[in-house]
């Protein structure tokens, strides 16, 4: 996949390829101009306007952003999303890595295990959310299972209301997301593990390194670029969580599981406040951008590239 042979020869513009080049990119470029460039410009414009049911009503300066900062529901959605990020991202990386290391051994059945772990990834999230509504219902299978485990251990059990209490609703979303996405992390990690040269393990083994030491000092540093990629990728995904709370908990109870993108959707299409929703989307973008830059800056400390 690497670009090698193509751009070797001397570069000169050919008149016959000039117009052909434009023709070839034309369909793509038109769509790009309308649905990406125009959309971004419009979105920024709307966020600084008063925009209601009938469309543009006048410039509003920073009013939408100021309203947002004073809106307790926005802050609730903001902290819920922060909760999703700090739980989902590390748990998913850890579980995905454990699965990948387990599958990177000389055992039978690797293909089958991988097939199973990846199955939720291709599943329609709406269907996944519906099943978890059933699994996590107060009288559902998960609570039945927990009750019997507690029963065997002789501990009194009070069934948690996973979906209907503000203590558990966010965790329900986390559980669904982990089930859905960990297989993705596993596959990417597995590909990275398979790229670690065997000689390095042999050398470490000869030097008397234990399995844990080999993992800690050979494997982890060598796959750190993958960890970095997954970290950023999953973080951006968690910032934009929508379907999971939308279908499973409707953001409730009392907004306890409402995500920012879900609130953007509700502001735009339930409250018909396109202006406020657009402002929220830009706040989200700024946060994603800032966090990505920050991670990119800290990566020097823990990501090892082979050329170093």
């Amino acid at each position: 996949m690497t670009p090698h042979t193509a751009s070797r020869r001397p570069f000169r513009w050919r008149p016959d390829q000039q117009w052909e080049g434009y023709l070839f990119i034309l369909p793509s470029f038109l769509g790009f101009l309308i649905f990406i460039v125009l959309a971004v410009v419009m979105s920024l414009g709307i966020s600084f306007s008063e925009w209601g049911l009938t469309g543009f009503k006048g410039f509003a300066g920073l009013t939408n952003y100021q309203q947002l900062m004073r809106d307790p529901v926005f802050w609730q959605a903001f902290w819920n999303t922060a909760f999703y990020i700090v739980t989902i991202v590390p748990l998913q990386l850890a579980l995905g890595l454990i699965m990948a290391v387990g599958l990177n051994q000389a055992i039978r059945g690797v293909t089958i295990y991988r097939l199973i772990y990846f199955m939720p990834v291709v599943t329609t999230i709406v269907a996944g959310a519906i099943v978890f509504r059933l699994l996590l219902a107060t009288n559902g299978p998960v609570n039945s299972l927990l009750a019997s485990i507690y029963g065997v251990a002789g501990i009194p059990f009070s069934a948690p209301n996973w979906l209907g209490s503000s203590d558990f609703s966010k965790w329900s979303v986390v559980i669904l997301t982990l089930w859905k996405n960990t297989g993705f992390t596993m596959v990417v990690y597995l590909a990275a593990l398979q790229g670690v040269p065997k000689e390095l393990y042999d050398a470490a083994h000869t030097d008397g390194a234990s399995a844990w030491q080999r993992f800690r000092h050979v494997t982890l540093p060598l796959i750190s670029p993958t960890t970095f990629f997954l970290f950023i990728f999953q973080m951006i995904g968690a910032f934009q969580l929508f379907s999971e709370p939308f279908v499973m908990t409707r953001g409730g109870p009392a907004n306890s599981s409402l995500s920012v993108v879900q609130y953007i959707y509700l502001a735009a299409f339930r409250d018909i406040r396109m202006d406020k929703a657009a402002a929220m989307a830009w706040v989200l973008f700024v946060f994603i951008f800032a966090f990505t830059l920050f991670q990119n800056w800290t990566q020097k400390r823990w990501v090892h590239y082979e050329s170093d």
Partner: protein, 281 residues
């Protein structure tokens, strides 16, 4: 793809057993929701609530009833139309542009491509509202073009194909040009056939994403006739919140095609993920 590369020592028998136990434990967690879905879809709601799983209760009745109360066949039809058109057209449009970016020489090529790349960072919620307004103004609200057209332009697909096309030697093009072939012909008869695997991988990747997409079809459709499967399913939950038998049958119906494609084309899916990893770096 063998799994042996990273592990120098063969494991002892007890260690292997322990590992299998762990991997089977994970498998159970991953599979259990599918199992519950299937079982509950085959028995009446009352039997599920009473945890009565006697064989006499099992039947396909829920499936027939689901098709009666919800126009699932219409949802299916819509999902197929949208997924197939977006996948085919997006790949053709991206491939044409990628061919130009990789193999034709024209003024502004690098600048335009950099402009494309710069927009990769923009999250979907930013363009959601203006695109909804654009669709409304075009008079496309609640129609197939609303579901299809915005999905045809993908910077990511263009980027991925351009990277691949850059790796194919330019001598092919030169030789064909000597024989009088046009650029269009070089693209269609030389470059496209040479990129079979990457196209297949990309196609599965795009198809799966469009089939499962929820937010966009939710926003641009309102009538029952225009719903795709995920939107139809979500509306179904709104109407029949605890009719588990019907909901599970509906979920199985929604999942079946994509799971079948996945099991058959597993290799391509996994490669697709590896590709997305490369794209992400």
């Amino acid at each position: 793809m063998t799994a042996m590369t990273g592990s120098p020592t063969r494991m002892s028998a007890p260690a292997r057993l322990g590992l299998h136990a762990l991997l089977i434990f994970f498998s159970t967690i991953m599979l259990a929701p599918f199992g519950v879905m299937l079982v509950v879809s085959l028995i009446p709601n009352s039997a599920f609530l009473a945890r009565d799983f006697s064989p006499a209760n099992f039947s396909l009745n829920n499936y027939w009833r689901t098709f009666e109360v919800v126009p699932f066949s219409r949802y299916y039809f819509n999902s197929i139309v949208v997924s197939v058109s977006v996948t085919t057209l997006q790949i053709l449009i991206s491939s044409l542009a990628a061919f130009a970016f990789a193999r034709l020489r024209f003024r502004g090529r690098e600048a335009i491509f950099l402009f494309y790349l710069a927009t990769l960072m923009i999250p979907f919620p930013v363009t959601l509202i203006p695109n909804f307004l654009i669709i409304k103004n075009l008079g496309w609200y609640d129609t197939y073009p609303a579901l299809i057209v915005p999905g045809l332009f993908s910077v990511f697909s263009t980027f991925l194909l351009r990277q691949y096309y850059r790796g194919i030697p330019l001598d092919f093009d030169e030789a064909a040009r000597m024989d009088g072939a046009s650029s269009l012909r070089i693209w269609w008869q030389i470059i496209m056939p040479l990129s079979g695997p990457v196209l297949a991988t990309l196609a599965i990747f795009v198809f799966q994403g469009v089939w499962n997409d929820f937010l966009w079809p939710l926003v641009v459709t309102t009538s029952e006739q225009m719903r795709t499967i995920p939107v139809g399913l979500a509306a179904f939950v709104g109407q029949y919140a605890t009719a588990w038998d019907l909901l599970m049958a509906g979920s199985v119906i929604a999942l079946l095609p994509v799971l079948v494609i996945y099991v058959i084309g597993q290799k391509w899916f996994v490669q697709g993920i590896a590709l997305s990893g490369i794209g992400g770096r």
